[in-house]
Symmetry: C3
Subunit: 283 residues, 3 copies
């Protein structure tokens, strides 16, 4: 593990500036619960979104988008075919894409979909701890199945999923993330911040996955991109928490904060720490 | 009619405390207009939600959920099959479930779906007055078809639907609800409160149906559960109305109030009155 | 071009008063991103909405609705069949309907759908500049394909689409709109106002299309109806902009303003200007 490989505040500031300057186009295939909020989060943060989940258009658009989000929240036979088409096209054309394995583990049909999608090698995987652990287990990586459900407990599973993806994160009270440094060594990062209100507002996790797709479109490396997405969200949620009086006002303030956070604020307030993946893994 | 069987303020307080302590998992099959708001209402009030409306997973999840919501708002062939699967599995496994017959009466295809679903005996039915009247008429209960469209006018239809469900409510300016006491006699309840802004915000009715599924998961009886859901909503809407300047700010304040209302406030502010169902019925 | 045919402030005030008095029922077939916001915009402004996009019910409901919106945002095979059914029934029964050609031009499958739908002669077409230009090009109106992407640049394309529709608008920083006067001459209108925040909130365009369907249900002419919808939105967005601190608070204030704007405010604040369509066209 190389501490030097952990993204710095300057890396985060540069990523946010690149996001605002380049306004990446995300192609989202997300669930019906989150579709509106995901798009509003992207627009507030500085990207744009096209939600295209029909099989006729998904592959073609994944080739021209800046980044693709495949979120398994409310699949049916039609959108499942579009997921495969989009992921396959993203993989072939080099478009970065994020897999959000919503509900994997608890729900057998979509668990099969998720395993199938791993063959298109997502650039990033983002889930909650249970989903990351379940996906690692289903992928044949047996280290993933013996753990609890905090993000820290999901670190070995996340590390195992690096066989299938460049970066993997488990979000929760403190987000945990693993990726690889330029020399191929595994890098772990812990992102503090956020708010107790985040789990009280639906689609905050799904929209983090979408924002990850936006950052992967413009960041120098997948590691910087996924860490920057987590940091942007964590800082905005902290700011929103200062004024919110409940989940309704929090959601409004959160969108405002995603919009108003600038590179200086992000660099100053982000709390990124190196994480010793092997130490967690040995427990 | 036994006035003693009408839930008391203490019953409501206990139900809210149980909701907050047990955080029931709702399985929602709801429409694309309401999916986001339904989930936010559940999270704000103190439950959690999984929206699963594909036929591959709906039955299995209905068996393990705390309560199920089947809302007919935007059905298609795929989700209609999932409705049947979920309702059937809920019925078999004893999971309480709520039928929200959106648009029944005005729209023939879904009216047929609703009648078919009655065979799985919903624990609760919640609709607006016209939907309750139409559903009772379609169910062969002819008393339901000769009425107007206020909740009070829907009481005979609601009572007729007790042939198919444990509790039935018609919401509107003043919500009206019927169920059965422990001795089997019909109990009627009127719930005052709410806000003129409720019909100006979409999915407030749909999310009441979802909250009913959450309360049915933890309440001692279906009657207490459905009354508690209506009371929680009525009190939160009254509180939100005090600060709102339009439907946008009302929706935000409503989510905040669903979250901040505690058992004491609910018991103090809920306006529950006994309703003489037979008297209404004889008109 | 007859300047006299441009709707006056009094025309707009009368249209808003008719909307509030008659509360038209919109039948929306819109995308999963916008379904919630579209409905909230209609309720806030003074209409009601039923989102019905299954093929079993779409035609029947289009016959009884006040106005229909067909929005191509997230089509699949099922909803595409419903679009055709609804548009066909609206055309046959004389229900005014609006086509919102989301993504047309960039996405080939839905571009074909849009061209097919033109045969049912939409009352109004509303899109962004690129969509209007692309649709005109696909419709065989070659004047449409050589332009840029500002609303002004879309005016020749919009005028060409008058072969297929009564009124056509391209929205953007300054909305541009074309229709026909009573004597058949082409009328152009420019609507100023709005807010830089509008493109930072998803579905503001889609909900303008829905509001157009509501106004077409009650306005004396399609031209007055579509101009009134644009003016209502432009004034409400200006008002919301005065207090918003980001896209989250803007969306809330926008719904409040759509609700609170009255006929006097609309007439005073709307900035409607005649547009010389032929002059633009000759450039």
């Amino acid at each position: 593990m190389t501490t030097e490989a952990v993204p710095t505040p300057d890396d985060l500031a540069a990523a946010l500036e690149a996001l605002r300057a380049r306004v990446p186009l995300v192609h989202s295939l997300t669930n019906v619960v989150s579709a509106n909020f995901v798009t509003n989060v992207l627009l507030a943060a500085g990207a744009v979104n096209a939600h295209i989940d029909n099989v006729h258009e998904a592959a073609g658009f994944a080739r021209i988008a800046g980044g693709v989000l495949v979120n398994l929240g409310t699949p049916d036979d039609g959108t499942a075919a579009a997921f495969t088409a989009a992921a396959g096209a993203a993989h072939e054309s080099g478009t970065p894409w994020v897999l959000d394995p919503v509900g994997v583990g608890a729900l057998p049909w979509r668990s099969g979909l998720a395993v199938d999608l791993l063959r298109y090698r997502p650039t990033g995987i983002r889930g909650n701890a249970s989903e990351i652990i379940a996906l690692a287990g289903l992928g044949g990586d047996t280290r993933g199945v013996d753990s609890g459900d905090t993000p820290e407990a999901a670190v070995p599973a996340a590390a195992a999923l690096l066989a299938h993806a460049d970066v993997v994160s488990a979000s929760g009270a403190v987000d945990h993330l693993v990726g690889r440094a330029a020399d191929g060594t595994v890098v772990g990062v812990r992102i503090r911040g956020g708010s107790d209100m985040l789990p009280r507002v639906t689609s905050t996790g799904c929209s983090l996955g979408a924002l990850a797709a936006a950052y992967l479109a413009i960041a120098p490396t997948p590691l910087v991109g996924l860490v920057a997405a987590h940091a942007h969200v964590a800082v905005a949620a902290e700011i929103a928490d200062e004024t919110a009086t409940g989940p309704g006002s929090f959601a409004v303030a959160y969108l405002d904060a995603l919009y108003s956070v600038d590179a200086t604020t992000l660099a100053e307030r982000a709390r990124i720490e190196p994480l010793d993946v092997l130490a967690v893994d040995r427990r």
